[in-house]
């Protein structure tokens, strides 16, 4: 069996499952973010008063944090009240950061776990070998109450990565390349597993970007099989000493498709408006004027991402025509970046630093006016996502973003090392 087949069979009490089959699976964790109040209101509407297991709930108030209108304040209040009323221990308020990063940092995600949540980028949990996938808020309520949901066992795709990235090229570029090549539905309903001799050298942060962006090819889930780096990451974080069993695919596992990529052949990539699959090598878009540069989101606002950007911006200045908005992914990341001087570098270079959270990617500040162009390290560039329907969003790695913020136009980061 593949990793997805093994996890789904374990969580549905089966000895084996096959793709296409529908199982009743019991997730280990149900994440809800800003949408928590909506799930709580459904709970009220259906007349339920008990949770299947409060320990399986995790709530992180991330999208609009802190509240910017009275309505958001009331919604967040409802979420807090729900958490208190039902004794949800894994509750993180508006100061914590982006749900995905917060939950992994806090040790709530372990290899082999099945995790569902009110966010499509739950696929990121696959960076630690967990099956993460997005569902809507009503379905979250259903899992809160019943403990389970129906899931279709996906077919699996194997992506093999060989070689090493050249300087200035990162896993964001790899993913933009894959999304551009395979398409927005290239892996629709599929589970993706990453293998190859390039994997051991990739940091957990780089793997998070991979599993996160995999969503943009339509995956149900994506995995980097756990290794020593995973174990090292978890050792420092699994504070509840929760035992876990990494899940690996069998040698005779069946894959629908095999994709091979040599990382050494990749160059910096940019996704152009208004679809992520609309990717181009940096050379074809370099020189495109930008008004705003957003270094943030669950895709690329981890500590390593801030370090990469700061490395390029140190001793340089952000172009006077560009607003560089830095939104650290979590409070922990922000603290680390503060202590190491990374935040100071970003500020001194001309950037501004906001509170941790989803920030401009979710429309929380950093909105765009008619005709404005934003280069972003996020995972989506859909029409109007950051404001005006007449604005444009390009996506890149943190390195390309930093180089572009300096130039005032999309720029190749390889000239900055």
């Amino acid at each position: 069996m593949t990793i997805a087949e093994k996890i789904l069979s374990a969580k549905s009490g089966r000895s084996a499952v096959t793709p296409g089959e529908i199982v009743e699976a019991y997730p280990d964790l149900v994440m809800s973010h800003t949408a928590t109040w909506r799930s709580a209101s459904v709970m009220q509407r259906v007349g339920a008063t008990r949770l299947y297991d409060p320990d399986r709930l995790a709530i992180v108030l991330d999208h609009i944090s802190p509240a910017k209108t009275e309505k958001y304040a009331a919604d967040q209040q409802a979420s807090r009240n729900f958490a208190r009323q039902y004794g949800v221990g894994k509750f993180y308020d508006v100061d914590a950061g982006i749900a995905h990063l917060v939950l992994m940092e806090a040790g709530h995600v372990a290899p082999g776990d099945l995790i569902v949540g009110t966010d499509s980028h739950c696929t990121i949990y696959g960076s630690l070998g967990a099956l993460g996938t997005g569902i809507g808020y009503t379905e979250v309520t259903s899992v809160w109450i019943t403990g389970r949901l129906w899931m279709k066992v996906p077919e699996s795709v194997r992506i093999t990565l060989d070689g090493r990235f050249s300087t200035g090229v990162y896993s964001k570029d790899l993913m933009l390349y894959l999304i551009g090549t395979l398409g927005a539905d290239g892996c629709s309903y599929k589970s993706v597993e990453f293998y190859g001799n390039a994997i051991p050298a990739l940091s957990v942060s780089e793997r998070m970007t991979m599993a996160n962006l995999a969503m943009e090819m339509g995956v149900k889930c994506a995995f980097v099989p756990p290794d020593l780096r995973t174990a090292e990451y978890l050792q420092a974080r699994l504070t509840d000493a929760r035992p876990y069993q990494p899940v690996y695919a069998d040698t005779d596992a069946v894959y629908l498709e095999q994709v091979d990529v040599n990382l050494a052949q990749l160059e910096p990539m940019v996704a152009c408006p208004h679809e992520v699959q609309n990717t181009k090598p940096i050379g074809e878009v370099a020189g495109t004027h930008i008004d705003q540069a957003f270094l943030g989101s669950c895709a690329n606002a981890k500590y390593e991402d801030l370090v990469v950007a700061a490395g390029i911006l140190k001793g340089r200045r952000v172009h006077p025509g560009v607003r560089l908005i830095v939104t650290p992914g979590s409070k922990k990341i922000m603290l680390e970046a503060m202590n190491s001087g990374v935040l100071q570098t970003l500020l001194e270079a001309g950037g501004m630093v906001t509170n941790p959270g989803c920030g401009a990617c979710a429309g929380d500040g950093g909105m765009l006016a008619d005709g404005e162009v934003c280069l972003s390290t996020a995972n989506r560039n859909f029409l109007g996502r950051m404001g005006s329907g007449k604005s444009s969003i390009y996506l890149s790695s943190p390195a390309t973003l930093a180089a572009s913020a300096i130039e005032g136009a999309i720029a190749d980061p390889r000239g900055f090392f």
Binding site: G134, G136, T138, E275, A362, L383
Partner: protein, 172 residues
């Protein structure tokens, strides 16, 4: 939910994402009416209003891709749309539509032959679409999933289940 749905078709292309269906700034709402007022507004002023004169959306591949926002399905219902037929759906939209009681059908054969304004008839129970004297078949949903849709969505399904449990507890 009715098993036969008939009406005029509006036709979309591929990869219509959930940000375009309902922008993130309106996720503070969960009611059909208010969401419907802002559905597809990124595609231009009056676009949503125009859609109200159609009954069924037909789309290409990967309809509803992107964000897992359930309100994408709610907003479409808020426009008075009765069903969506696409070559394929993104998985989050597929689930959300079922959970929201919005009938969805995967039928790639219809797409190339249907035009805006055409009238089609969908027979959900039989797995058939009638259009211009022709019949297109589509795979029926698994029974357990169709049951959710038939009750009008997951909230109604949960309500029924809880009532059933309470009844059994009283009897037991």
């Amino acid at each position: 939910m009715e098993s036969i749905i008939q009406g005029r078709v509006f036709k979309f292309g591929d990869n219509i994402n959930s940000d375009v269906i309902i922008p993130g700034r309106y996720l503070i709402y969960i009611d059909k009416e208010r969401l419907g007022q802002h559905a597809f507004e990124m595609l231009g002023e009056g676009f949503g209003a125009k859609l109200r004169s159609f009954d069924i959306l037909v789309a290409g591949r990967n309809f509803g891709c992107g964000s897992a926002r359930e309100q994408a399905a709610t907003a479409i219902q808020g426009l008075g749309v009765k069903a969506v037929v696409a070559c394929s759906f993104a998985r989050t939209f597929y689930r959300n539509a079922i959970n929201d009681g919005l009938p969805i059908v995967e039928c790639p054969a219809l797409y190339p032959v249907v035009a805006e304004g055409d009238v089609i008839q969908i027979d959900l129970a039989a797995g058939k679409i009638h259009h211009a004297g022709r019949e297109h078949t589509f795979p029926k949903m698994p029974d357990s999933v169709r049951q959710i849709l038939e009750l009008g969505g997951l909230a109604e399904y949960l309500k029924a289940q809880l009532a059933d449990e309470a009844h059994r507890a009283r009897e037991g």
